[in-house]
Symmetry: C3
Subunit: 213 residues, 3 copies
């Protein structure tokens, strides 16, 4: 039973790796990086969040290093984007949609893994959020840009919501697989609606006039 | 006794977390990030240096993850800045002053913790410096800027001076609490005077004409 | 025997640290950073790749922290560049040549260390590559630029080639020292020829028109 749950978590994690790899590789193709640059950006976007989480909870070596399926999923996403960019691009605003899906998958899988390694619920939710936003932050830092998650509509709030579902499910002893699926869809749905309707958090009323950058 | 010293180190650490959170959040408000972006920048500026130190010395999970007071201090600093920005701003050149205070607190607490975990004195001083400068570097990298610590007046030298006080105090068997306070004030004082009088380190005589960026 | 091999690996590692320190410090002098900024960039370029590898394989504290020779080699490279910049500069396009040499040294030493710690061959080659490219990426991120390795001629492919030599040598039971030297020279040679002849990987045929940045 526990084993099946863990396999389900890994499956969710791998799906997140794949869609974040598409997101990273899409940015890299748009910047006209070469094949290697596309693969690196795919891997960074796909794996950096989970690696950061694993280092912080002491799960060393991280799954991304020890388990070949993570590298394979990230590499496959990168190659697919490189050789089939026009197909990937045809899907509407693909970076954002892949990002939203990956966010939900990672937030849920990351929270679940952190709980499993004995973290307290608050840390577990934050580590799930880090799993979800870490890859996108690393991708944008490598592109020398301010990470989009820092000013995107409800980005991390959606991840936090997904993580809270997992934590509540654990606390109430609910069956894990439907709980995880609920978390993924809640996060994806929130993020998707936020993009669509431009929902956002407030900025400080006291903000000075926007500076040049 | 040792326990009281450790509690004092944690108190210094938490004070550093709070003031670095103010510094990070101030930058974020100035860039008009939303509430989440402000909280992230507060946490990154407040916690990245200590997390880097803890990963390097094998203290996993890092205090910032395992101890809720670190997250609380960083979050409180971020919220305070967000909702009371004009008060925070009224303090003169707040980013620099908070930075100088946080630098001293972190350099001393970081050196102390590294010695405690058995690092040699040179590594301990450098790890204290990393604790002090890591958050500011991460904050600036996320804002896609060259970190100010790399060209600021005596920034890291001040941190090194604070760390050396701690190492000397250990070697001479002096009582730790006054030693730590001396280190904090020496570092803060050096940095403050350097800002005020424009003290700096030399650049290479051989520097070519400054390049465009 | 095994001990001599390990000493040889460390010697290769330290040579890589030294030349990457020259590369990082050269960039810092060109940006007119002060003495401290030059030392930081030297250390980051020299040590970040190895530190990342050591964190990922659980070799904590990393050699760069625990072994004073790493800090000394990086610091020496930084000081030499700072005080003798015009001599360093006279060597043709020094950043690129030091980079190519450091790449070969690190890719080989990093792959060897990862195999030693029990990683599988694919992970070992990728960790060797990370050792080789990590410092340059960190250097460029601190300078708020897109890392050159992401669009440079055959940069990481050369590192991968060097790592594959090491993995094959292990699998075939060949004597490690000549194998490592072969790996270093293959990587350096590939990278050097690629720079000279402008060899590169393809970009996606489907790339959109280059975006503004």
């Amino acid at each position: 039973m526990t084993r099946r749950v863990q396999e389900f978590r890994v499956a969710i994690d791998l799906a997140g790796v794949f869609v974040f790899a598409l997101s990273g590789a899409t940015v890299a193709v748009q910047r006209r990086l070469d094949l290697f640059g596309v693969l690196v950006l795919a891997m960074v976007a796909a794996l950096a969040g989970g690696v950061a989480r694993d280092l912080l909870i002491g799960a060393v070596p991280p799954a991304a290093v020890a388990d070949w399926r993570y590298l394979a999923a990230a590499g496959f996403g990168g190659l697919l984007t490189f050789y089939r960019y026009s197909d990937i691009e045809r899907l509407q605003s693909p970076v954002q949609v892949f990002d939203a899906a990956g966010l939900g998958l990672f937030a849920v899988a990351g929270t679940e893994k952190a709980l499993l390694l004995g973290m307290n619920p608050v840390s577990a939710v934050l580590l799930g959020m880090l799993t979800g936003i870490g890859g996108g932050i690393a991708r944008d830092v490598l592109m020398a840009q301010i990470p989009v998650v820092l000013y995107s509509e409800l980005y991390a709030i959606a991840a936090v919501a997904g993580g809270i579902v997992v934590v509540l499910g654990h606390a109430l002893g609910l069956p894990p697989v439907p709980v995880m699926l609920t978390g993924v869809f809640l996060c994806f749905g929130l993020r998707f609606m936020a993009i669509r309707h431009g929902w956002g958090l407030p900025t400080s009323r006291h903000s000075p006039a926007r500076e040049e950058a």
